[in-house]
Symmetry: C4
Subunit: 263 residues, 4 copies
């Protein structure tokens, strides 16, 4: 009776990234990642009527196939989870966040078409892929970005508050100046805010814009403020990334024989 | 008679940030901050006709309630101000900038609807919230941003002058090239400047754009100059933030036993 | 006869920045700078028909007044120029670039209205203001920006070549994909380039845009490339400014007693 | 019989950058580069009907002339290639990537007009110019940019994944919110993605935009996310360029007697 435990152990090593002895994804997990991506792409394409029309049956079939793969994976994970010391009791795994998300994704995949709202549920598959994301070099790079942003949280928050104040000021001024002329576009501060957001972010849809001289002067000043609003957080982040990387280098130098960190 | 002074002292510690012994905002000031924010949101929403219509009475009532809260706060501050050594004489506080701004905000809140111009007065509430803003970590981060901008004031001013020269040049050229074809859009340098601002800031509303070959070549060059105009101040600010933070760190290291966060 | 040379010397010290003993602009030069700025503003406003109409006489009078001031300044400079050792012979000054530019500006100002082309000549006044610009702190900041850009000239040139290649590629592809559907917008590579410039610089006027699926996918890729094209030179300039300032600091530290440099 | 080999050797030194003893391009290669650029410009201009019309014969003639120059160059390279030790056997050169690209460019240039698809073939000339590009300072600057991007490959990849997730999220949300109101613009996730790309890159064509309150709030958040998406890779690249240049400097200092510029 030494064979089945060996199979379970080998399968666990393929399924559980923590038990996988090499860096990166195991072959089985890589395959599952691609199947999940395929499921996401199918969920997106299904929303397009010109693609869905006439292929409903084909889409349904593919989805059932994908759902079967996910069901098999779920059962396999439920069987092998006890190999990981974190889940010595099986129900601990079954009630974990990722296992429950898997279950929902499978139930959704097996259920009939749920209307537009069902798209959101189908995109829950993205959560499933997250479990495979925090691996190796990507994880280090992600930490570097996250640390750079966190280290300047207050500076970035102040930029955001500053941006909000400029948004409020320019909306109010344009509402006062052009509110009577273009009631649909600038008839209230919330309406003017739609224009102000498009201008400050330099998106500039062009559906609404001021027509009076004073309104255009204010719009010009708003657009220039928008550039500053982009420049300040960019500058903050640039220096933050520079510092985060220098710290990472120094940590690497001070720690002896840290071979596993990506160079 | 030892009780009333104790109550006044306890209330002053809640109301006056300088007397508050802990970091951050006191519970009472936090509550007031939220009430002020609510007042600002209400002032903004009131300008929207589809929201105001049919709810005028409700808005008026809420405003009177908010005004009463502010009046109570004003009276409480006027009573407790003498606890702070800066205002040993009560009239010194009553004539201070923030107290007068409070009074105006209260009078405005109690007055009848003042038309669109009243919105500006209602947004005076924002000044009231500023008194609570310069606190703890936020103040440090704000200083860091302010210092970074100040340390490169001349470089940023030159970028601005450079931007103004490009704005003037592109407006003049487009006026000469497309002035006769599109008199409404490019019939004078100030009119062409509206297009030039939208292009240089890369907002690009699309209400006016050149149609001739030469005009489009010049517009392309203007748009590319716009990117440079964004890139140069961003680069200046990025290096400024990097320096400002390094200086802040060095200052922290040179001061012995500075265990807490700066101010 | 000791009085007239003294007056000429005092006037020369006011007019010639090189002879002015203090930092910044002399009172007289500051006044002239403001008169030049006024002349530029008037030249700009004159192009606007709604402003010019009915005020032609007033504009003409102001211009003649300004021209008289410039003539007086020109004569004063011609009289005092010999005080500067660089112009021991008066004709050397009279044939210098700035003196000739002055002469042209005066002749233009005195001449009758020259149509739209005259605007360009009037903006020659901007050259006159340049002579006053390279002064004190501004000059140092300008040098810092110029050095930062020069030190990365090759990197910036490669970014520009790279941008040009992407521009050419996206124009060609959109011409091939949408050329038949929208001949006015994408009927040739130069036509498609107008769209490509607006997209790569993220201006996005919205006068032309692809309508087919493939065209939109390519447009999306072009827009994303546009962000990279902005990010790369911005990054290059950010590090260049950082280095330029550090070098300026080190130079300042290594030179003993350099008191005149702005800190 | 010592003269013809001398001619071949002198020609080889002019044609082959590796044999050219000076820095930069030889006179002959510079001439060829300009002829190639002329060929590219002609290929671009030919696509414009208003330019081609009535000048077809002239264009055809110029193209045949250019093709003859390229043929001469090809024969000269084929004759002189053996001077370079890398191509001791002539067929090795004739089968090299650049020689084959030359051959295709020549065949295309001699062939009759090939319709729009022919433009792509004509732009193969760009490949020919690449062989001349990796020279001197440009090569160093190109290496510096390439190294900066490569050193942060993982951080940039994560930014891209992050951008893709925001793109997917905003497309899905706008599809759910405005899908029924504007089926053409937001009727499916792929359709909404067109709007999302234009918004996230801050291009903002303005052909599609949300009209409901919730849709506009989401659009505002998307536009603000777009700024972050621009700011993060810009910040990453800024610090990367700073590091790449510092490393290049240190390498230069550590190498003794490296008087010339790298490669």
């Amino acid at each position: 009776m030494s064979h089945p435990p060996s199979l379970r152990h080998r399968l666990a090593k393929q399924l559980d990234p923590q038990l996988y002895p090499h860096q990166g994804l195991s072959l089985l997990n890589l395959l599952i990642a691609w199947v999940i991506l395929l499921g996401i792409v199918l969920a997106i394409l299904q929303t397009e009527p010109t693609i869905r029309q006439g292929h409903e049956g084909w889409f349904r079939l593919t989805e059932l196939l994908l759902a079967s793969v996910f069901l098999l994976e779920y059962l396999a994970r439920a069987w092998t989870c006890v190999e990981n010391d974190a889940y010595t009791q099986r129900w601990r795994y079954l009630l974990s966040f990722f296992a429950l998300a898997d279950l929902v994704a499978i139930v959704v995949a097996f259920s009939v078409y749920l209307g537009n709202g069902g798209v959101l549920l189908r995109l829950l598959l993205l959560i499933r892929i997250l479990r495979l994301a925090r691996l190796g070099r990507f994880s280090t790079a992600l930490d570097c970005i996250a640390q750079a942003i966190r280290s300047r949280a207050y500076e970035l928050l102040i930029s955001a508050i500053f941006a909000l104040l400029i948004l409020l000021t320019s909306s109010t001024l344009l509402f006062l100046v052009e509110g009577d002329l273009q009631p649909d576009a600038f008839g209230s501060i919330p309406r003017a805010a739609w224009w102000a957001v498009a201008t400050l972010t330099t998106v500039g849809y062009g559906d609404v814009y001021p027509v009076t001289v004073l309104g255009r002067v204010l719009a010009g000043l708003t657009a220039i403020s928008g550039i500053c609003i982009i420049a300040i957080p960019t500058g903050i982040l640039a220096s933050a990334f520079s510092d985060a990387l220098q710290e990472a280098k120094q940590r690497q130098h001070s720690l002896p024989k840290r071979t596993d960190l990506p160079h």
